[in-house]
């Protein structure tokens, strides 16, 4: 069974959004279910700090042994930090997707967009769990 923390928000494309102490800033990554389906992640193409990302737009790609996938942004905003550790340790996405395997930290341009995302129950239903 995939781990689906109840304090996160989710997209149908298997990204999660995690709140931070700053109400306008969130952390984005991919879910435990996604990393399990993808298998071993070998590298990621992530945006640079300062990049603007759009809701539902791509913000990067994730290369796993089996397949490559686009990463879709759950919300719009500016990238204020990128997880540099993933450059050398992409497998952190597999081993700790909600923790050390986080991908980008984003200052939202419209925090109300978060209400369009699924909660953990909705996401669990979405993946048939």
């Amino acid at each position: 069974m995939a781990n689906i923390p109840s304090d996160l928000s989710y997209t149908a494309d298997h990204e999660y959004v995690k709140a931070t102490d700053d109400p306008n800033v969130v952390v984005i990554g991919v879910t435990d279910y996604a990393q399990d389906q993808l298998g071993d992640v070998v590298y990621l193409d992530l945006p640079k700090v300062g990049a603007h990302i759009d809701a539902h737009g791509t913000f990067g790609t994730i290369e796993a042994v089996k397949a490559v996938s686009e990463l879709y942004s759950p919300i719009a905003g500016e990238v204020i930090e990128v997880n540099a550790r993933l450059d050398g340790e992409p497998a952190l996405v597999n081993s700790d997707p909600y923790g050390e395997g986080w991908m980008i930290r984003v200052r939202m341009s419209d925090p109300s967009q978060r209400s369009t995302l699924m909660d953990s129950a909705g996401y669990a239903k979405h993946i048939g769990q």
């Binding site: 494309d13 298997h14 990204e15 991919v30 996604a34 389906q37 993808l38 298998g39 071993d40 070998v42 590298y43 790609t61 994730i62 290369e63 042994v65 089996k66 490559v68 996938s69 686009e70 990463l71 879709y72 497998a91 597999n94």
Partner: protein, 372 residues
């Protein structure tokens, strides 16, 4: 992210299916079978286990044909490219099944036993191969029997393979050279074909036995510990690191062995065989393209089907490609015009609109395999 679900529909299962499911393997449709692509440890861990210790692959989906009778050697010699009369009893060789155009119907292994031959073919081509070679069988005094669905096949691969197999068999493993086989008892099962072959570049054995003995064999091989169950994912990355061809990726019915760099399994002087005339013509006219191995220093994951450019002109697609787990660099194969097929030459691979530079190298990519 987009994830696609594959729904198996009326697929065959090998006799090891219940072990795969119990171990938590991801099962995928492959050549009409439901096969494990990986176990929870993951493809990279399985790959490394085979390079460093030992892995166990269920490859029971492979096809096996038995050929018997006074004309058996001549028949197999006619429908394959390698020198079958030159095979000693107890010897195996790699070979190809061609059509009249000289292109691959399949690649295969040929085993010579004292009173019969066995051809081992790709599961995806089994039915096609049987129909194809069956057309020629009536010209020879032999019988051709498909035993694919009755035969289980496990590949125990890795530097520790011999140490793991030795305690459960009465066969003298040290006496089996590379690409040789004996028939003996393993795990209490009589008449197991113990073949010192594999698709990984490491030392190892392929074991052929009846489906009914599947549980006993699997349990005996796993009982001692130190064996990692491995799926099709690591099988593919292991064989690619060795530059071994895969039908459907590197070779198919659009290319000849001369183009695929497999001229060494074609014995032009052995007499007539299916496809020989076409190869004679191709040799006279000159081979126009050749399969090459490439690697890159860039961060890229070349995948099957990505466009390839040589001197800025399209040159087909990536045949096989991966991020080499052992070497940590992108590796792959593709066809290049013959004048470009030299180590050191530069080509480009288009990955999602961006061109990535790669260099032709001499295979194998991984040069420290423990195979004999």
């Amino acid at each position: 992210m987009s994830l696609s679900d594959q729904t198996p529909d009326s697929l065959r299962r090998t006799p090891f299916y219940h072990f795969h499911v119990a171990l938590g393997a991801k099962m995928v449709p492959f050549a009409g079978y439901e096969m494990p692509v990986q176990y929870p440890a993951g493809i990279t861990a399985e790959h490394n286990a085979v390079r460093q210790r030992a892995g166990l692959f269920d490859v029971s989906h492979m096809g096996e044909f038995i050929v018997r009778g006074p004309g058996a050697v001549d028949f197999v010699n006619h429908v394959t490219t390698n020198d079958v009369p030159g095979l000693a009893v107890g010897q195996v060789h790699y070979s190809a099944i061609l059509n009249d155009r000289g292109t691959f119907e399949d690649d295969c292994l040929v085993y010579r036993a004292d009173d019969h031959l066995m051809m081992v073919v790709n599961a995806s081509n089994m039915t096609k191969d049987l129909a194809h070679i069956g057309k020629y069988a009536s010209r020879f005094d032999c019988t051709l029997t498909d035993v694919s669905y009755d035969t289980a096949l496990l590949a125990l691969q890795g530097p520790q393979a011999k140490r793991i197999l030795a305690p459960i068999t009465d066969v003298d493993l040290d006496a089996i050279e590379y690409y040789r086989f004996v028939v003996g008892q393993v795990a209490g099962i009589p008449d197991v074909i113990v073949s010192r072959t594999g698709y990984t570049g490491e030392d190892g054995f392929e074991l052929y036995f009846p489906n009914g003995a599947a549980d006993a064999m699997w349990n005996a091989l796993m009982a001692g510990g130190g064996v990692t169950p491995c799926g099709l994912g690591s099988r593919d990355s292991l064989r690619l690191e060795m530059g071994m061809a895969l039908y459907g990726n590197d070779i198919d019915d659009t290319v000849t062995p001369l183009e695929a760099g497999l001229g060494w399994i074609v014995k032009m002087n052995k007499g007539d065989f299916v496809g020989r005339d076409a190869l004679v013509r191709q040799k006279a006219e000159g081979v126009a393209k050749k399969l090459v191995a490439f690697s890159s220093t860039e961060r890229a994951f070349p995948r099957h089907g990505y466009p390839v450019f040589y001197q800025d002109k399209p040159s087909g697609v990536v045949c096989s490609g991966t991020m080499s787990p052992t070497l940590g660099i992108p590796i792959g194969t593709c066809y290049l015009p013959i004048d470009g097929a030299k180590p050191g030459n530069v080509l480009e691979i288009e990955i999602r609109g961006k061109r990535v530079v790669a260099t032709v190298v001499k295979p194998p990519f991984y040069k420290h395999g423990t195979h004999l």
